[in-house]
Symmetry: C2
Subunit: 282 residues, 2 copies
DNA sequence: CGAAACTTTGACCTGAATCAACTCGGGTGG
DNA sequence: CCACCCGAGTTGATTCAGGTCAAAGTTTCG
């Protein structure tokens, strides 16, 4: 069960396999150094409490406070609460809960879902380490539910802190506005996806987006481990699990990607990219 | 060419037919008073410049500053620019334009569209008087284009003003956050619409939403005049114009609504509402 | 080790897209 | 004032992408 990650990230405590960024407290069994990469296998050791500052966090340059000066960062840190790790399938918040604050993924991953009156759910987003979510609650109550897709942990920025901080740190306000705008933009491009793209194009877009986000986080952009089920992917893309399964099969046949269970190896990123932006939808 | 509206709205200058809220400067030809309603016919008189304060605006209780105290409102007013009226089909801003500010619809209506790399457009929203839009630009550049669907005018809240005001008026900041969150929420419920609902349900939801919004604005909730084409509606709902046309026909047959060109008379609101929330999509 | 949850595969069906006429209404210019 | 034109809207015939149902694998995890 080995995986690779850049040395400097390991030093600062990022584990790629389980994506928990407190690797220093983990039981590291074995590692091999190799041209800037280490192969590590990890086990157990979850839930060890440890106050990690934002400055030390391996996700610092991806996360909310990245726009802040060192001084501002210090103020910011004191307002952030680190939540205990959560098991897969647990809710961080549910539809209708009073807005408590925003959350940054520290490790693991989350999905947000909105539910129709008849019980049908729609997955509205997946969130990877360093990504901020919870904006759907800014209007007093969360309109979505957030569920951990695997063993995960988050940092919380409570509403009260936000109100205090945005006055003191105008940069933070701008950054929050920007992130919120980005949430709107991605939702809207999803609208375009869902109504104007074929199933094939949607899946390609999904893989391309995941690949880019993984790479940004220092993971491999070509070997991905999906933390969400076929059902979640299908639901997110407005398809059925069966269709997603068949599409994965087609990707294999066309040598665009190797898919085995939840492991995806992207063989031809360019081709996938072309498929997304390729001429016309349906 | 007559239409009705509450007396108190007329005094404050709201015309229902053309939805221009400077009716006092219009040439009112004929009116009949009747149990709190007036029937008016209006003509010509567009583009007469007139500085209208937010406090006098008939949309005050719907628009952005509604959360402000009279004192705050006074500060707010000075920052709002009234833009000249625009003809149908003109762009207020286009994809890629540098973010200039947010816009509130004063009269008429707008659509926002996002365009795919291949030129295909997707309508992401329709905006009625009193509604605020332009949030898609908060991340430096507008990701959508905004087009006037009819003769329309807007109030502009420039970015520089926003930055100044949110510091002075915390209520305004909260209200902006709330509106932005609402934008996210409606986009996400559109995601659900597009991927989990049948064509019939989507159109029903569209009509229900329009009806409620018209009513909120003091217009009739049962007799609507659509300012957008079948193509726009279809595009917004992820359908084709042909399908929308057939669905309207079906609504007529089932006596749920009378549709004639761009005039819609809702006959059975409850039934439409049930259709939206009815058990299961597809 | 075994149950439950997730995936894959196949056969079949259907809702909405596509393509192609045709109609209607409003504006224009002779 | 009317003939013409053009874009918007309607209607019908046909097609097919992706949904549905069913049943057999395959992980995963207690």
């Amino acid at each position: 069960m080995a995986n690779h990650l850049p040395v400097d990230r390991l030093r600062r405590g990022l584990c790629t396999r389980c994506r928990i960024n407190d690797i220093s407290v983990y039981n590291v069994r074995k590692y091999l150094s190799n041209v800037g990469f280490l192969y590590v296998a990890v086990s157990s050791g979850f839930n060890i409490p440890m106050k990690l500052t934002c400055r030390d966090c391996s996700l610092a340059e991806l996360c909310l406070p990245r726009a802040l000066s060192p001084d501002d960062m210090e103020q910011f840190e004191t307002m952030v609460d680190q939540r205990p790790a959560m098991a897969r399938g647990n809710f961080l918040y549910q539809t209708g809960d009073v807005f408590g604050g925003l959350y940054a993924v520290k490790s693991g991953s989350f999905k947000t879902t909105i539910s129709a009156s008849d019980g049908e759910d729609q997955v509205t987003g997946f969130y990877l380490p360093g990504e901020l979510f919870g904006f759907d609650g800014f209007d007093d109550h969360y309109s979505c539910s957030a569920v951990a897709l695997e063993h995960s942990s988050v940092c919380e920025l409570p509403l009260s802190s936000i109100d205090q901080l945005v006055v003191k740190l105008p940069n933070l306000r701008r950054e929050l506005d920007r992130l919120m705008a980005r949430e709107i933009t991605t939702d809207q491009s999803m609208l375009l996806q869902l109504s104007r793209r074929t199933a094939e194009q949607r899946l390609a877009a999904f893989l391309v987006s995941l690949s880019l986000r993984f790479r940004q986080r220092g993971f491999s952009g070509t070997e991905l481990r999906l933390s969400m089920s076929r059902y979640d992917i299908a639901n997110y893309l407005g398809l059925t699990a069966e269709t997603v399964s068949r599409l994965f099969k087609r990707l294999k046949e066309h040598h665009l990607a190797l898919v085995n269970g939840r492991t995806v190896i992207i063989q031809d990123f360019e081709a996938l990219h072309r498929q997304v932006h390729g001429s016309g939808g349906r």
